[in-house]
């Protein structure tokens, strides 16, 4: 009987203790999670980290009255009109931006708050595995060390050779001194007349000499011819870029259009390298990559002055102390090597290395080819979406240009640009080379004229 009573008491205590959580269960944290993802996650983290809006950890402690908090979440612009001091402070801190109004019930908002109060494990900000990156980098530095090792070994070998020779001559000299004292003949230097011997051998084996000479001359002139042909042709040129930007990831996997970043190809002679603000369109929110983690993206932050811990731009970045910034980004990265790599980018420009480059005496216009000619980017640049690091796909020689101009047909029918020209040809049928059924190639509209590209 006593036992039963004790059990009952335990159960009762347990029930009372569990009661708050049961009451919470009505406003379920699970439902809150879904609502949070649908409505809040674009601008807020559940941690204390700032995003577009403030981090929400401990938000209930910051608001003394829950009713006010609910009203603020439901319609922040309306709530601001009450003149609440904390709300006004927030409004000013976030440069006068308000939350959109939400049509959520009290229970739904409470669910969200319950989720924020106990987000569980998976709510930690997304972090990609950086193991792969570390391995990749390890491999790279390994390669670098190997070449260094080779040089060191060669150096050691050379030093040893010199040492051996000098020791040899020293011992010879000592022996000669001994022989001189003893009144003996000094050692005769063996005359190794390589040239004389070779000439003698060649005179003896004329046929073999002739064969060697013919093969050597033939092979070397072929090699020389090939080598001369590569002068000024940079096909396959793949320089190391300041940031390990992967076109394979951005274009191949994420399916971002070429023109999103290289936006001037349609409007200008040049295909631009995007300015860093275009990078920041996505990288405000994407702070870690799958391959290099934070290391490469932080280089952009260092160049533009983005504070990834508070998710805002530094004020007066250009006037800030460089060393302080270096230690800030260093502690953000938590890796000395990566920090050293980021340091040169602080308050400076990202100096990408130009790969495709025509000589100054050749004129090329991107807009004409992309907008008017409707040439695909991949026609000249290759499958960039499969290139980890971009290399020059085409030779960009004059012969290559001319060949394409001979073969490519002008898409005049779908292209308002050539409407009048085409009309003219039609009206003067017979007077000109152009005939119906004949391919209307770039050559036909002057694509082979010297002055089209050289003037």
């Amino acid at each position: 009987m006593r036992n039963v009573l004790r059990h009952a008491r335990l159960v009762l205590v347990g029930l009372i203790l569990a009661l708050p959580s049961y009451m919470r269960a009505e406003v379920s944290a699970e439902q809150g999670k879904q609502l949070f993802k649908a409505n809040c996650a674009r601008c807020h983290y559940v941690t204390d980290k700032r995003f577009v809006g403030p981090g929400l950890a401990g938000v209930q402690d910051r608001w003394s009255d829950e009713g006010n908090l609910l009203a603020w979440i439901r319609n922040s612009s309306d709530y601001l009109k009450t003149g609440d001091s904390y709300a006004t402070k927030l409004f000013e801190e976030y440069n006068g931006s308000v939350m959109p109004a939400f049509q959520l019930s009290d229970d739904e908002i409470k669910s969200i708050l319950a989720y924020i109060a106990d987000p569980g494990e998976e709510a930690a900000p997304a972090t990609a595995s950086t193991d792969g990156a570390a391995a990749a980098e390890g491999g790279q530095t390994g390669g670098g060390d190997n070449t260094l090792l080779t040089y060191i070994l060669i150096g050691v070998a050379v030093v040893l050779l010199i040492l051996a020779r000098s020791l040899n001559s020293v011992s010879k000299a000592l022996e000669n001194v001994r022989r001189e004292k003893a009144g003996e003949e000094p050692i005769q230097e063996e005359s190794i007349n390589v040239v004389g011997k070779t000439v003698a051998w060649m005179a003896k084996n004329k046929r073999i000499t002739a064969v060697i000479a013919i093969v050597l001359v033939g092979a070397l002139s072929y090699k020389g011819f090939v080598a001369l042909n590569t002068i000024g042709v940079y096909e396959g040129y793949q320089p190391k870029q300041p940031i390990a930007f992967s076109h394979k990831l951005h274009v191949g996997q994420n399916k971002i259009e070429c023109q999103y970043c290289h936006s001037t190809v349609e409007k200008s002679r040049h295909a631009n390298i995007p300015s860093a603000n275009v990078c920041m369109n996505c990288h405000k929110a994407v702070q870690e990559g799958p391959q290099y983690g934070k290391n490469e993206i932080t280089k952009i932050y260092a160049a533009v002055g983005w504070n990834p811990e508070k998710n805002e731009y530094f004020k007066d970045y250009a006037k800030m102390d460089k060393e302080e910034l270096a230690s800030f980004y260093g502690s953000y990265l938590g890796d000395e090597k990566a920090a050293a790599a980021v340091e040169p980018f602080i308050q400076s420009n990202i100096e990408w290395v130009q790969i495709h480059k025509l000589p100054d005496h050749a004129y090329f216009n991107h807009a004409q080819h992309v907008k008017v000619g409707k040439v695909e980017c991949t026609t000249c640049h290759g499958e960039v979406g499969e290139m980890e690091e971009v290399y020059q796909h085409s030779p960009l020689t004059m012969g290559w240009c001319i060949n394409c101009h001979r073969e490519t047909e002008v898409q005049y029918a779908t292209n308002g640009y050539y409407e009048r020209l085409h009309q003219y040809y039609k009206e003067h049928k017979g007077e000109y080379e152009m005939r119906e059924g004949q391919a209307f190639t770039v050559e036909k509209i002057g694509g082979l004229e010297c002055s089209k590209c050289h003037y």
Partner: protein
Amino acid sequence: MKRNLRFSYAFVLAFTATGLFSCIQTDPNSPGYEYMPDMYYSIAYRPGEANPNYADGKTNQPPVDGTVAQSHDSLGMINFSSFPYANSPEGREKAIAELKNPLGQSAYHLDEGKRLYNVYCIACHGKEGKGDGPVVKVLLAKDNYGLQPPAYSSDQLKGISEGQIFYAMHFGKGNMGSYASQLSAVERWQITRFVQTLQNPVGGSDSTATAADTTASK
């Protein structure tokens, strides 16, 4: 027999020698040899090149404040430097109320808008403006909601005015950056025209569907 052997030795020797010549390693960071470098490099600075004559070291300098671009804004439209609305809540309210699309109703602008949308917006907003673009999908798989926009047809966005759409492209909104550096005013208005067709899809799809719904069902 012996002579043949010696001949083959001779061949081996000759080929080894030429092989050694071709073994000279090429440095990937060097483009190679140039023929008459004088004709390759102009004295003038090329765009995008480092330039010691400017304090910030860039050849590409922004136009002077108040510059009106002639080529792209030939319709006499606002461009970045003379946009008459401030990047503030008041400026936004004013822009939403006053900004009107100066382009006519021609199908050309709608087509251009769609083409540009498929270049500049589709990565996040998705083909039908449901907030399910390829970049968003990649990020959602990693529990990163940072770039997921609401659907244009959601309650939050289906009613917004053309001025508000344009203003968002001009100054950015939330995590969306400003597109004024990539798109001219005309192009932004063309995209606005296309986005309006996504706010109320003709197909009459469920307009209350939010971005989260569409992604959850995938």
